[in-house]
């Protein structure tokens, strides 16, 4: 069995004097959905491009399914890529393009059209078969590109900003499609949309200025297994009277390691011992105390939220 679907070992990439990626090491397990996260210039797209074989690393080892990404002969049917901002061949029809892609993946000629039509159907684009790629809207083109990435059920799929520039409805459909593929292949998603990544990914690598600043499962990154947070209504204060947050009583819960109330952000943060209880149990206990005290609650979340975590790290 393959140990890792994707592996980077001390990988660096320099463009002249500028170092875009600096000694990055991480691996992604087979079958997981993994995010590449970071601000602009963090090195996400550079790493993505090295994984897809577009760029050669200046140093280090990049492997996809145990092979160098430029080993096209052995990867062409096993790796699917959605490149960011790559225009589809304007003169080809959608059908021609997808059939060509299928044929290049060594899908037999008799099956190529069927596979291409199925892939197009999955992105709800079956009516576009005869349309020229150059005449598609941005959203349609993105979905056709997504169809080619998932064409032929590849083992690893790299998606660079899959929902960038899409309207909310199409973005939702794309997220649904990616979610539906979960478990059937390894998916690596590079994106700025942290909420999207938090909902889709099993794990993530957080990058900043070309280096890995954090990596792990989504629970580890967001501390979802050891912290719960609750937002309370404006005007709520700390205290023991009705409508006030009884911080001391929360701290006295047996599984709670610490409890804090930020009156400015109107947020209660409860850190608990993960070996003694899970987040859902702690939420129940904390809510019970707050409701008994008639505290008005406006939100509950496990952990700190990926967005907050990334803001802290980068």
């Amino acid at each position: 069995m393959q140990a890792a679907a994707v592996r980077l070992d001390r990988v660096s990439k320099r463009f002249g004097p500028k170092t875009a990626v600096d000694g990055v090491t991480f691996s992604i397990d087979v079958g997981s959905v993994h995010g590449l996260i970071g601000p602009n210039g963090a090195g996400k797209t550079t790493i993505f491009s090295m994984l897809a074989g577009y760029l050669e690393p200046s140093a280090g080892i990049v492997e996809v399914l145990g092979l160098a990404p430029k080993t096209v002969d052995r990867l062409r049917a096993r790796l699917g890529v959605l490149p960011q901002d790559a225009l589809l061949p304007a003169g080809d029809t959608v059908g021609e393009f997808l059939v060509d892609m299928a044929r290049l993946q060594d899908i037999p000629a008799v099956k190529a059209e069927g596979c291409a039509r199925q892939a197009l159907d999955e992105v709800t684009g079956k009516d576009w078969w005869g349309q020229r790629c150059g005449s598609l809207s941005h959203g349609m083109a993105k979905r056709v590109a997504l169809a080619q990435a998932f064409l032929g059920e590849p083992e690893v799929v790299l998606l660079d900003e899959p929902t960038a520039g899409l309207d909310p409805r199409v973005a939702f459909e794309v997220r649904q499609l990616v979610a539906a593929k979960k478990g059937r292949c390894t998916i690596v998603v590079s994106s700025h949309n942290l909420q999207e990544l938090e909902s889709l990914c099993d794990g993530a690598v957080v990058l900043d200025r070309g280096r890995v600043v954090a990596s792990g499962t989504m629970s580890e990154l967001t501390a979802a297994n050891e912290q719960v947070r609750m937002l309370v209504a404006p005007g709520t204060t700390r205290g023991t009277k009705s409508g006030q947050v009884p911080v001391q009583e929360l701290r006295e819960l047996p599984v709670v390691k610490s409890a804090e109330f930020d009156e400015e952000r109107l947020e209660i943060a409860v850190l608990f011992e993960r070996k003694q209880a899970d987040a859902e149990t702690v939420i129940g206990q904390v809510l019970s105390i707050l409701l008994r005290n008639q505290v008005r609650i406006s939100g509950v979340s496990k952990g700190r939220g990926l967005e907050q975590r990334v803001m802290d790290l980068t």
Partner: protein
């Protein structure tokens, strides 16, 4: 032919071919009139002209029997071939690098296959365009009665193949340049500069050789740098000496093969 560029190029090429064909045919008509339709005199005029231009008496005698309208058309075609090749080929790879369309292909195909496919595909397009314009010129010459159907299948076919082989060398250079730049306009400018440089080499060599021949009265062999200009191989390709023809074919096809291998290796290393 699916793009505006393709349609515009097609229309311009065909119109140019038609005008060139009419000019070539009218030249032949005028020559024939001057020679008072005396075939021997007319053929001798042609032989002398070709010998002066090439310094090759055997070639001159051989080519003198070819229909001069088709020969003139060949000269025009191969002279304009670099222009056609530059316009067809400058964005073959550079355009896809700029739009990043190449990224869809390189995940599924070897870069060497992509490079070779681009070069051979564009060469095939140019060969097809040349075939169409040759057929157009052949048709005009046939209609005026200056060539026979038999001559079209011998000289006409040979002239087209000569044009295709020479265009292959130009196409190899254009594709190599196109794959070296991300901006098509830079590729176009570089292609024009390189093509102009090669034309200058050929022209300077030709002028120097002709001046020596005229001053001494003895045919002078072309200097080595004349052969940097792909069009210079036309006289070898049309020679009655099969050794010369083979040498020219090997040089031109070999050049294309070397560019495919070298260009693929460079393209393999570059970032896309």
């Amino acid at each position: 032919m699916r793009s505006l560029k393709g349609i515009a190029l097609g229309v311009i090429t065909l119109l140019g071919a038609l005008v060139s064909a009419l000019v070539c045919v009218s030249i032949e008509g005028s020559d024939r009139a001057q020679a008072a339709a005396a075939n021997e005199v007319y053929a001798d005029l042609k032989r002398q002209a070709v010998e002066k231009a090439t310094g090759d008496a055997a070639l001159a005698s051989y080519v003198a029997s070819a229909p001069s309208s088709l020969l003139a058309f060949l000269k025009i075609t191969i002279w304009l071939a670099p222009m056609l090749v530059a316009l067809v080929g400058f964005d073959g790879v550079a355009g896809e690098l700029q739009n990043r369309t190449v990224r869809y292909w390189t995940v599924r195909t070897r870069r060497s296959s992509y490079f070779a496919g681009k070069l051979l595909g564009l060469w095939a397009v140019v060969a097809l365009v040349m075939l169409v314009i040759h057929l157009l010129a052949d048709g005009v010459a046939l209609a005026r009665g200056y060539v026979t159907v038999g001559e079209l299948f011998t000289w006409g076919l040979r002239f087209w193949l000569v044009g295709v082989l020479i265009a292959g060398a130009w196409m190899a250079i254009a594709t190599l340049i196109s794959s070296s730049f991300r901006a098509p306009v830079t590729a176009l400018m570089t292609t024009f500069v390189v093509f102009f440089g090669l034309w200058l080499c050929g022209s300077v060599a030709f002028a120097s050789r002709t001046m020596k021949t005229l001053s001494t009265g003895v045919a002078v062999a072309p200097p080595w740098y004349e052969y940097l200009y792909p069009n210079a191989y036309d006289s070898m390709l049309l020679s009655p000496d099969s050794g010369k023809v083979l040498t020219a074919v090997v040089v031109l096809v070999g050049f294309v093969a070397v560019v495919i291998v070298g260009g693929s290796a460079l393209f393999q290393r570059r970032d896309v």
